[in-house]
């Protein structure tokens, strides 16, 4: 069942102490807690008074480029120090207590991998650092990410997708209870994406806290039952992914329609209940239809055009990009 939406984040100075039992930014059985965290690099504010928590299961971290997803993930694992606030993993500070890393792993977004090592040796190195006693663990995780055949090839010769999978294997070999994945599907082919998504969901179902970031809404929808949306380093929304999708659907959408007789088409479209308004874009010689039900418009449009003998040249949603959806979220 979807949790209620948190939307939008209160402005600084007006923020009331969140009621964690009802606020969808928080979970009851939190393993990772982020409390009023701010991180800045020089004049650039990467995170601003962010509070949320993560618990067992897959949580998607969604946001456009530069939203602060990577910084939040690095702060969660202790790679960057927070300037204000606190991050706690199982009640411990990941910057101060290195024992946190025993059961916590990060798959960074960077393509960089250690040179000169085969995939097997690299995963074995990480296993040794974590004092993994199960000698079959390396082969098992390489099998899980589909790299058995390439296990003895050097990692620096791998494609981007293979490198990502090698890093996922290195993370899995530590048998983490908290797994932080920064854009883990980058470069993976469709079959591997499917495979990795299933793997992450499986880990979440087993009780692992999986935090996965992406700027692709559909990817997150497929693997995360809970979503945290960041925008400009702030919490823009949190809750079940369906709640977020529904909330987005309630926002007006703009559809660009180019046809040979735009005025006649506009007259026909005005009669539709789903159309909230129509403007004529002279620059593009097209109509811009404002609607709350884009799907209804898409269904009705060909029928109307056929009945009025109008030729349609182009029908395109103007605000279907994730960035524009985020803009709607924080408006």
């Amino acid at each position: 069942m979807d949790a209620p939406m948190h939307w939008p984040a209160p402005m600084p100075g007006t923020a009331a102490t969140p009621d964690r039992s009802t606020d969808p930014a928080f979970v009851a059985d939190a393993t990772v807690e982020v409390a009023q965290v701010s991180v800045w690099f020089g004049a650039k504010v990467a995170l601003s008074e962010l509070s949320c928590s993560f618990g067992p299961g897959v949580t998607g971290l969604l946001g456009p480029n530069g939203a602060g997803k990577t910084t939040l993930m690095r702060a969660m694992v202790g790679l960057v120090d927070v300037n204000q606030g606190a991050v706690r993993v199982d009640g411990r500070d990941p910057r101060r207590d290195r024992s946190v890393h025993e059961r916590m792993a990060l798959v960074p977004e960077d393509e960089a991998v250690p040179g000169g090592l085969t995939a097997r040796r690299f995963v074995q190195y990480v296993a040794d650092l974590h004092r993994v006693t199960d000698r079959s663990a390396v082969d098992r995780v390489l099998h899980e990410v589909g790299l058995v055949d390439a296990a003895d090839r050097r990692v620096d010769g791998f494609s981007k997708g293979m490198r990502q999978r090698t890093k996922v294997a290195a993370a899995l070999v530590t048998d983490p209870t908290v797994l932080v994945l920064d854009e883990p599907l980058n470069g993976a082919d469709p079959v591997q994406r499917q495979h990795l998504i299933a793997l992450f969901k499986q880990l979440g179902a087993r009780g692992c806290t999986v935090v996965v970031s992406s700027h692709v809404l559909n990817e997150v929808e497929r693997m995360a039952e809970r979503v945290i949306v960041l925008m400009h380093g702030r919490l823009a929304a949190a809750g079940g992914q369906r709640a977020i999708r529904d909330a987005l659907d309630d926002r007006p959408r703009h559809v660009l329609v180019r046809a040979d007789q735009p005025r006649r088409l506009a007259a026909a479209l005005v009669g539709l209940d789903s159309v909230a308004g129509i403007t004529f874009d002279a620059g593009r010689n097209a109509l811009v239809v404002q609607t709350l039900q884009a799907r209804d418009v898409a269904t009705a449009l060909p029928r109307l055009a056929r009945e009025a003998s109008i030729r349609l040249f182009e029908v395109r949603a103007l605000d279907d990009s994730l960035e524009s959806l985020f803009r709607e979220l924080v408006r």
């Binding site: 960089a112 250690p114 190195y125 004092r131």
Partner: protein, 252 residues
């Protein structure tokens, strides 16, 4: 499905050491290390052209060329490879994000770098003495180069823990602090691997030119003791700073 085969876990320290030797020094880095080593041998050849006894000629050339130039540069490449280059590339995360204590990481990296220095820089300096026709200087050259380069590796690892621009800062330390300030101020020279390794070399020679003996700087074994202290301090600083490192990605 095979049942998990539980065994005694492998040593983290050994894993870090092995990783340092296998991964941190790709072929290009080896070439960059060997270049100043070749330079050291050329300095040995050059000393043959100096018109004095072979021992004295090599001592003069080695003090300036080998200990002042070849050893620091080769050690800089090694020191940068075992930490700084990894931090810049964004691959140090894989080591840092582990429960391995930072002292093990620092020691493993330093030991790995020291092993490389011991098999490259030190024998090359001894070889340079042989090429120069001064076999009696080979032993002192080996020992002094080994002690100096090991100390340098620790120093450059410490710099790698403090800044991402390891190579630039290391060069600044070698040429501005050690060479420039160290030449004028004995206090700085006493803490400088360049001056101390040179003093170790000169102190171990049977017939060292008097102009190479610098007042206020320990010579011979005492200089090696001083280098050990510099190494220890650098490793402590590296350990302290590594715990506080801010590791952003390669693209940041």
């Amino acid at each position: 499905m095979t049942a998990p085969t539980a065994q005694r876990p492998r040593s983290r320290f050994v894993a870090i050491l092995r990783y340092t030797l296998q991964s941190c020094l790709p072929p290009k880095r080896w070439a960059a290390i060997l270049l100043p080593c070749v330079g050291a041998i050329l300095f040995g050849l050059l000393s043959r052209a100096v018109g004095s006894s072979a021992d004295r000629a090599f001592a003069n050339v080695a003090a300036e060329g080998i200990f002042g130039l070849a050893v620091p540069i080769a050690a800089l490449v090694i020191g940068d490879s075992v930490l700084g280059a990894e931090v810049r590339a964004g691959t140090f995360h894989f080591t840092w994000l582990s429960p391995a204590p930072t002292w093990q990481i620092v020691l493993g990296r330093w030991l790995g770098g020291s092993v490389v220095a011991l098999v490259t820089i030190a024998p090359t300096c001894a070889l340079a003495a042989l090429v120069a026709g001064s076999p009696s200087s080979a032993g002192p050259a080996f020992v002094a180069a080994a002690a100096g380069s090991i100390s340098y590796v620790a120093l450059f690892i410490a710099i790698g823990c403090i800044t991402r621009r390891t190579a630039v800062w290391s060069l600044a330390v070698v040429f501005l602090v050690e060479r420039l300030l160290g030449a004028a101020l004995t206090g700085i020279a006493q803490l400088s691997p360049t001056w101390e390794s040179r003093a170790a070399f000169v102190g171990m020679l049977d017939d060292a030119p008097s102009r190479l003996v610098r007042e206020g700087i320990p010579q011979g074994a005492s200089a090696i003791g001083r280098l050990a202290i510099v190494t220890l301090v650098a490793l402590v600083v590296a350990h302290w700073r590594m715990r506080r490192m801010q590791l952003s990605g390669a693209s940041d």
